[in-house]
Amino acid sequence: MTSEEIILNLPYQHPFLFVDELVTVSDNGIEGNYTFKNDEYFYKGHFKDNPITPGVILTETMAQIGVVCLGIHLMGNDISVDNKPKIALTSQAVDFYLPVYPNDKVTVISEKEYFRFNKLKCKVKMLNASNELVCRGSISGMIK
């Protein structure tokens, strides 16, 4: 499956799709990026007159690129238009280091720890456009 096909198979859409591009995809890991648009819906409330990307959205972005996209790649031919991936986030532990503002581009790099019995566990980190660490952690999900 190509990177474009992986993104097309994602079960998300605007305003909750946080994947622009996948740069590298292998059986052991994945790297992709997303640019937070100026008018993302959550900036209206987080925070009042002071838009900063919420940590849960950063976690979601890491999960979409680092776990779900990688999971779709690993499922390979088991995923198709007729057989959309069924996914569930099952656990996450993330530390945050730097804020992400509107128009910031972030890169997510994920390393597979294991994919067994439909559970994918990854070590995931997010870098900003200056290559500084924004957040990192461990995220797991079930995919079938």
Binding site: A88, T90, S91, Y114, R116, F117, N118, K119, S140, G141, M142
Partner: protein, 84 residues
């Protein structure tokens, strides 16, 4: 390893993943991982990976699907240990 030792090591393995404390206190051969202990499917995978490490065995998909209770886990562990 006798039955009680096996149950004790399983008890140690499942402890971090259980939701139902009472069912855990009364854990016995008939305890079901999902229905009694309320372990979720993702943590059931962790239980199986921990069982592999603890007993130095490999659990395949077929065995995994059967490993839903203390009794079936014990049977699978004993079979895999005997094969070694």
């Amino acid at each position: 390893m006798d039955k009680n030792e096996l149950i004790e090591s399983l008890k140690k393995i499942v402890k971090p993943y259980i939701q139902d404390e009472a069912a855990f206190e009364n854990l016995n051969e008939d305890t079901d991982f999902i229905n009694d202990l309320k372990i979720n499917s993702a943590n059931l995978v962790d239980v199986i990976l921990d069982v592999e490490d603890e007993f130095d065995i490999e659990i395949d998909n077929e065995a995994m699907e059967k490993m839903l209770s203390v009794k079936s886990a014990m049977a699978i562990i004993e079979t895999k240990l005997a094969e070694k």
